[in-house]
Amino acid sequence: MFVTALPTIAQMVGANRILRGVSITHPTGDPDLSTGVEAALRRRIVERALEMLVTEVGPTTIWELQP
C-alpha cells in the first residue's frame, strides 16, 4: 500500500490502498513533535498500513491515520 501526503494524485494514477501521510517532506514522521511522540506516531502509521493490507478495499481507497 501507499503512504503519501498527496492521496488525490495517488487516486488519479490508480493506487488502490492509500494512507494519507503526514506531509510531503516527511510522510512517516513529524519534526515538530518530541522524539518519543514522533516514534509513537510512526509506529501508529505502520500499524495503520498493516491494517489496510489485511482489509479488502474497493478501488482507489483513501484511509486517514485516525479512522
Binding site: M1, F2, V3, T4, A5, L6, T8, I9, A10, M12, V13, G14, N16, R17, G21, S23, I24, T25, H26, P27, T28, G29, D30, P31, E38, A39, R42, R43, I45, V46, E47, A49, L50, L53, V54, T55, E56, V57, G58, P59, T61
Partner: protein, 346 residues
C-alpha cells in the same frame, strides 16, 4: 464582453517563480500581487500582460487545498478575469497539481484557463479538461519557447475567440470527446478496421483512458507475511554511492537493511530534488519507516521484514518509466516471496 474594455488577465505562479523564495518557501500562504511577476513579464509582448499575480507555496497548496482554493477563488470572483494563466509548471508534480486543480475550479466558474506543463504532469489529469495546456519539456529550458505560446492562446481567449483543435493550436487534448461526422458510417468503418486488423494493421478510434488494476485481495495472514519497504523519496546511503539521479531517475536501487533497526541520520540521506529534504535528512525514518517496522516485526505484528529496501527519486519521472520500475521491483519482490509492500511517497 464590451468591445474596447480592457481584458483582465490573472497569472498563478508558485513561490519560486513569483520570487517569494525557493523550496524553503514551499509552505508560503497564497498572496495577491500587482502586475506581472517572473515569467508573467514576458506575456505583455503577445498582448496578455497579467494585471494581477496570485502565488502560493507548492507544499502549502497540497496540504491545505480547500482553504487555499477558497482564498484563490474568492480573489478570482472579485477580479473577474477574462483569462487565468497558470504556470508554466514544467515537470513539477506539486506545482503542476496546484495549477491543474486551480484550473479545474476556475473553469467550473466560467473562467477560460491556459496552463503549461509536461504531458505526464498530475496537473493534466487534475485539470479535468478545463484548461488549454501547452505541452512543455520537464525543465525550465523550454521556458522561452513556451511563454509566447501560452500568451497567444490567452490573448485570443480573452478576446472571446473559439480555439481550434489540439493539434492545430498546440495544446494537449483536454480529454474531451466531441461529436463529428466521419466520412463513412460506423458499419463501413468497422468492416474496414477489422480487415486491416486481420492483415496486421491494428488501430482504434477510442482507447481506454486509464491503466487500472483492481485492488489485490487482502493479505490473509499477517503473521506469516514477508513485508518490504519501497520508496520514491530518493532515500540512499549517505553520499549517494551509486549516484541515484535527483531527477529523471532512470534507475531504482536496492539496499540491505538486514541488520538495521533504523535509518540513521548520518548514514542515509535523500537526494530527491522535488522537495525540501531537511526533515528527511534529519531523520530518514520520516521517509522510510524502518525503525517502526522493525519494532513491529519484533513484536510479532507481522511475519518478516524483507532484508532490502528499494528506492528511486520520483521527480519528472515519465509514467511509462515509473510503470517499468514498478514491474521490475515487483518481479524481484515476488521472486523473494514478498507478500506485502509499504510504499512511501512525497
Amino acid at each position: 464582453m464590451d468591445g474596447g474594455a480592457r481584458m483582465t488577465i490573472i497569472h498563478y505562479l508558485n513561490q519560486f517563480f513569483a520570487g517569494l523564495g525557493g523550496e524553503e518557501a514551499a509552505g508560503h500562504e497564497p498572496v495577491k500581487l500587482d502586475g506581472p511577476r517572473g515569467p508573467g513579464r514576458a506575456f505583455a509582448a503577445a498582448g496578455a500582460a497579467p494585471d494581477v499575480t496570485l502565488a502560493c507555496g507548492d507544499d502549502h497548496f497540497a496540504e491545505h487545498e480547500p482553504e487555499v482554493l477558497a482564498t484563490l477563488l474568492a480573489w478570482l470572483e472579485e477580479l473577474r478575469p477574462h483569462v487565468l494563466i497558470c504556470g508554466p509548471s514544467f515537470g513539477s508534480g506539486r506545482y503542476g497539481y496546484a495549477c491543474g486543480v486551480l484550473a479545474r475550479e476556475a473553469g467550473r466558474r466560467g473562467v477560460a484557463v491556459v496552463a503549461a506543463m509536461t504531458p505526464d504532469s498530475p496537473g493534466v489529469m487534475a485539470a479535468e479538461g478545463a484548461a488549454y495546456i501547452v505541452p512543455t519539456g520537464s525543465s525550465v529550458a523550454s521556458m522561452k519557447a513556451v511563454l509566447p505560446s501560452m500568451a497567444r492562446l490567452a490573448a485570443r481567449l480573452a478576446e472571446g475567440e473559439t480555439l481550434g483543435g489540439p493539434e492545430e493550436e498546440g495544446y494537449l487534448p483536454r480529454g474531451l470527446r466531441v461529436m463529428v461526422r466521419a466520412e463513412h458510417t460506423g458499419a463501413r468503418r468497422a468492416i474496414d478496421q477489422l480487415l486491416d486488423k486481420l492483415a496486421g494493421d491494428v488501430r482504434t478510434e477510442v482507447g481506454s483512458t486509464g491503466d487500472r488494476v483492481p485492488p489485490v485481495p487482502a493479505v490473509s495472514d499477517l503473521h506469516t507475511v514477508r513485508l518490504a519497504l519501497v520508496t520514491e523519496a530518493g532515500c540512499v546511503p549517505q553520499g549517494n554511492p551509486d549516484r541515484l539521479p535527483t531527477r529523471h531517475a532512470n534507475v531504482w536501487l536496492r539496499y540491505s537493511i538486514a541488520d538495521a533497526d533504523s535509518l540513521g541520520a548520518g548514514a542515509y540521506e535523500s537526494v530527491h530534488a522535488g522537495f525540501d529534504t531537511t526533515a528527511g535528512n534529519d531523520d530518514p525514518n520520516r521517509l522510510v519507516p524502518l525503525d517502526a517496522a522493525r519494532a513491529l516485526e519484533r513484536d510479532g505484528a507481522f511475519g518478516v521484514l524483507h532484508d532490502s529496501f528499494y528506492t528511486t527519486s520520483g521527480v519528472d519521472t515519465p509514467v511509462a518509466t515509473a510503470a517499468k520500475f514498478g514491474q521490475e521491483i515487483a518481479a524481484e519482490l515476488r521472486e523473494a516471496k514478498v507478500g506485502a509492500v509499504i510504499l512511501t511517497g512525497t
